[in-house]
Amino acid sequence: MSAVLELRGVTKAYGPNEVLRGIDLAVGEHEAIALIGASGSGKSTLLRCIDLLEDIDDGDILLDGEPITAPGQDPVPARRRLGLVFQAFNLFPHRNVIDNVTMGAIRAQGMPPAEAAAAGEALLQRFGLGGRGSDYPDRLSGGQQQRVAIARALLTRPRALLLDEVTSALDPELVGEVLEVIRELKADGMTMLIATHEMGFARDVADQVCFLESGRIVERGAPEQIFSAPEREETRRFLARLLAGDRAG
């Protein structure tokens, strides 16, 4: 089986600060991979590099077996085949919910507006936001906004969905409704790369968990193995810190 997404030796530095130090990773069809690690370990940068919002310094990224990071290559076609959901939602505040959801489908995919509106409304319905299409984003809770952002990315029918700590900016009681949506997507067979701080969720949804530290994938494996019997000292320390934090909180 060839991977939907493949990363080979990807490096990225901001000046002297090396954020990614040689990432190798393959995401297969229908597979969900969770990226865990402390803030600043490179998870967000990795996702932004894959969606070509940042240039990588070295290495290759392949989408369906074709390189998308060749020098001088137009990033737009690859971006159109990927979906990215941000920690801070980044909805467009000047457009209502349905316009937010359909903008990518209409402008980037050339979907007829009526068709996009119908498909968008159906997605909103499915995510528990039926009838909210004409509201503006500032009328919605954080959890609702993030579900709109996921619908917006999904309507462009991406080959893979990149989720960048999509629950980190939410109030605790709103986290569940967003995770539920992602669980459904997993059940539908969506290929996903998920940067997350929600360990319980990662254990549930991910087929594979990668632990990042200082721009390297230090350990990777099935969720049971990573969370129950991590092999590396760094992983153990990270998980112990999280547990201590949970107890203190």
Partner: protein, 265 residues
Amino acid sequence: MTISAISTFIVVGGFVTWVLTSPGWPNVRNEFFSSSQFGASFGAVLSGFWLDVKMFLVVEVAVLIFGLLVALIRTVNTPILFPLRLLAVVYVDVMRGIPTILLIYIVGFAVPGLGLKGVPTNPVVLSGIALTMCYSAYVSEVFRAGLESIHPSQAGAALALGLTPVQALRFVVIPQAVRRVIPPLLNDFIALQKDVALVSIVGPQEAFRVAQIFAASQFNYTPLLAAAALYLCVTIPLTRIVDRLQARGRRERGGGGGVLALGPR
């Protein structure tokens, strides 16, 4: 309420009394407030003012387009645009540094003097171009402030959806930026609507010029007041609109009344 009424009465009443009892008031009244002169000149001044209206309407549209273009050149960070960006910086610096009246004078007299074929020599067109050059510089700075106030994550979200950079600007960044700068933009337009009077120095018979000719021939300044009244007719409504938009902006940002509360009201 009563405090504000009494204070208004004392201030306004005192000022009016002070002016009306001044030794020169009878002369000033005849020279500036003559109703017969007003009636005799008003029609001509009004038809002159029509030229002002046409000019500022056309110049405003040109300024919107050209100002946004200059702002985009200065904001969009593409290496290819570097020479243009340098040119835009020089343009804005120079245009904002020259008095408008001088620019109109230079363009109005120097360009026809060149004797080039295909270049307009009509003073109305030339002074309109001069006004556009000057106000586009100011308006480009207003647009630039608006564009820079939109967080880069908005463009990032648009690109992530697969929009091209031009689409991201057109559908996401520019609409939000323009909305934010409408009040300062209209402020510049109020200034422009008055500065149209400056074109009279290169010849066009607009309201101020017509009034000036009348005043000179009749030794009476009332026509100038007629012109002033006409300018007010277009600037005051626009000023009110700006105030209202700013108040609405403050409400939308949740800033309460928006006036510094320094004491009980």
